[in-house]
Amino acid sequence: MDRKEILNELKKVLTPYTEDKAMVDGITEETDLIKDLKINSANLVDIIIDAEAQYDIEIDFDAAEKMYNVGNCIDVIAEKLNKHA
């Protein structure tokens, strides 16, 4: 899965957690989950759990802490997917 494909899948994961659905459509690697998408910080945990299910990977605590913008999320997911493969 390349970064663009991961980003497209990530949109599905993020959608339930933000009121601003239009913003999700337009996300880039620079989009900040809390500041730009106005996601409740407690929900980052739920996003990680959903991402694990979506990509069939395991995200450890250290990796999860890096997932605050879309680019970081893709980094973590891409790394885990590659290990997986």
Binding site: P16, Y17, T18, E19, N40, A42, N43, V45, D46, I49
Partner: protein
């Protein structure tokens, strides 16, 4: 002490026989039962296989809370509470969206048991070594204050925000607490009420105690029979009721519509002494509670037109009536009209007091006493003590100026409210 008066300016309800005030009003006027047979309880081998559950559409909550808040919400008691509370809020003429913190406004909303379906899911996951997958939404829904947290967060309430819990007396007690905060000048407005979702696990506990109706499983609408000689236990219910209470001057200044006044109230305990136990109220405590409520209201017992009792459809109903007779010093034809909403909706534990108080306020406002369903055969002790004229089996249209509403809960806790027309 102060002379601040407390008026009721908004109502909300989620009941087995109506999910909004107009439907609920029509149901209680016409004696519409919300009790149904549920095959699930037959499968579970419960003795009691009937219940009163609101026909609640989960999707309706989209109009009340944000989509992100709704996503992941599973607690039904919380959901009932949100709907009833926000309906009372808007019924009082308020808008739901507010940017500020409302410092003059608080919330006392009660419940008994946090949603055990949510708890069950947490238990399964943890026991399967999957605690990592629980997510962020479990804690807020298994904490008892979950319902007040959702309500006060949605409205920005900055005064006292309290979840009370006093078994079947909870809803009446929440209203008394809100009334007292306004009366003593601590708040201008209090959103009060209670909610309960009696799920299979709580239902099972009561079923095992053999205090539930079991002889009318094939005739659900006949199953809840308060004060009847053939009453054989209560029917579990679920739902929520809510009231907007306001300091009178505050309500008048904004030109609010006023349903009635909370004249007074009392909540106490029999102390589990002198006949009072974990599950049975002490008569002395009940009588003292009713008398304290009357004293607090500054009325005479003779002013009461209607008693909206606790009256669950167990053998205790006849003792409850005896307690009212002693507390009021009235009997025979001199006794007020008496009715039990549980004949239509069953007993929704913590939600009972608030749903029944909403019904009481509507009877006050529209001058009627709702019928007691299934009262073809009053208990002889009740009939002898207060006569048949005070036990309406059809709607009675009559001037209702003052109502006494009481509930009595496990742990020997009591709560009694006195409501009146607003003059």
């Amino acid at each position: 002490m102060s002379d601040r008066r407390v008026v009721i300016t908004g109502l909300g309800v989620v009941a087995p026989n109506g999910n909004n005030i107009p439907d609920f009003l029509q149901a209680i006027q016409n004696g519409v039962s919300g009790i149904k047979h549920y095959p699930e309880y037959e499968d579970l081998k419960f003795n009691c296989q009937v219940g009163g559950f609101p026909e609640f559409e989960w999707e309706d909550l989209r109009n009340y809370i944000s989509e992100t808040s709704l996503y992941g919400l599973k607690g039904k008691g919380i959901a009932f509470g949100i709907k009833a509370a926000l309906d009372a809020w808007t019924d009082a003429g308020n808008e739901i969206v507010s940017e500020q913190v409302l410092l003059d406004t608080g919330c006392v909303f009660g419940s008994s048991v946090a949603d055990t379906d949510v708890i069950k899911n947490a238990i399964y996951r943890v026991d399967a070594h999957e605690s990592k997958k629980l997510g962020s939404r479990v804690v807020e829904q298994i904490m008892n204050s979950g319902v007040t947290a959702y309500i006060s967060g949605r409205l920005g309430l900055g005064n006292k925000v309290i979840n009370n819990s006093a078994a079947c007396a909870t809803g009446t007690q929440s209203i008394i607490m809100g009334y007292e905060y306004i009366k003593y000048g601590m708040a201008k407005r209090m959103l009060v009420g209670s909610c309960e979702f009696v799920d299979r696990y709580v239902f099972g506990g009561f079923d095992s105690m053999r205090v539930l109706s079991r002889k009318y499983n094939d005739q659900a609408e006949r199953a809840s029979r308060p004060m009847s000689a053939s009453a054989g236990g209560f029917v579990p219910g679920s739902g929520a009721g809510a009231l907007m209470l306001e300091e009178m001057e505050y309500a008048l200044a904004r030109g609010a519509k006023i349903y009635g006044e909370v004249l007074g109230g009392s909540t106490n305990s029999g102390g589990q002494r002198n006949g009072g136990t974990m599950t049975a109220p002490s008569s002395e405590g009940v009588i003292r509670c009713i008398r304290e409520a009357i004293t607090d209201s500054g009325i005479s017992a003779d002013d009461i037109d209607l008693v909206c009792g606790h009256l669950t459809a167990t053998m205790a109903d006849k003792w409850e009536i005896q307690n009212w007779i002693q507390a009021l010093g009235r009997s025979g034809d001199n006794f007020p009209l008496v009715n039990s909403l549980k004949s239509m909706v069953g007993h929704s534990l913590s939600a009972a007091g608030s749903i029944e108080t909403v019904a009481a306020v509507l009877q006050l406002k529209y001058n009627f006493a709702h019928p007691n369903l299934n009262l073809e055969d009053p208990m002889p002790e009740i009939l002898d003590a207060i006569g048949a004229n005070n036990l309406p089996v059809t709607k009675v249209n009559t001037q209702i100026d003052v109502i006494a509403k009481a509930n009595f809960g496990f742990g020997d806790v009591n709560a009694c409210l006195i409501l009146s027309k607003f003059n």
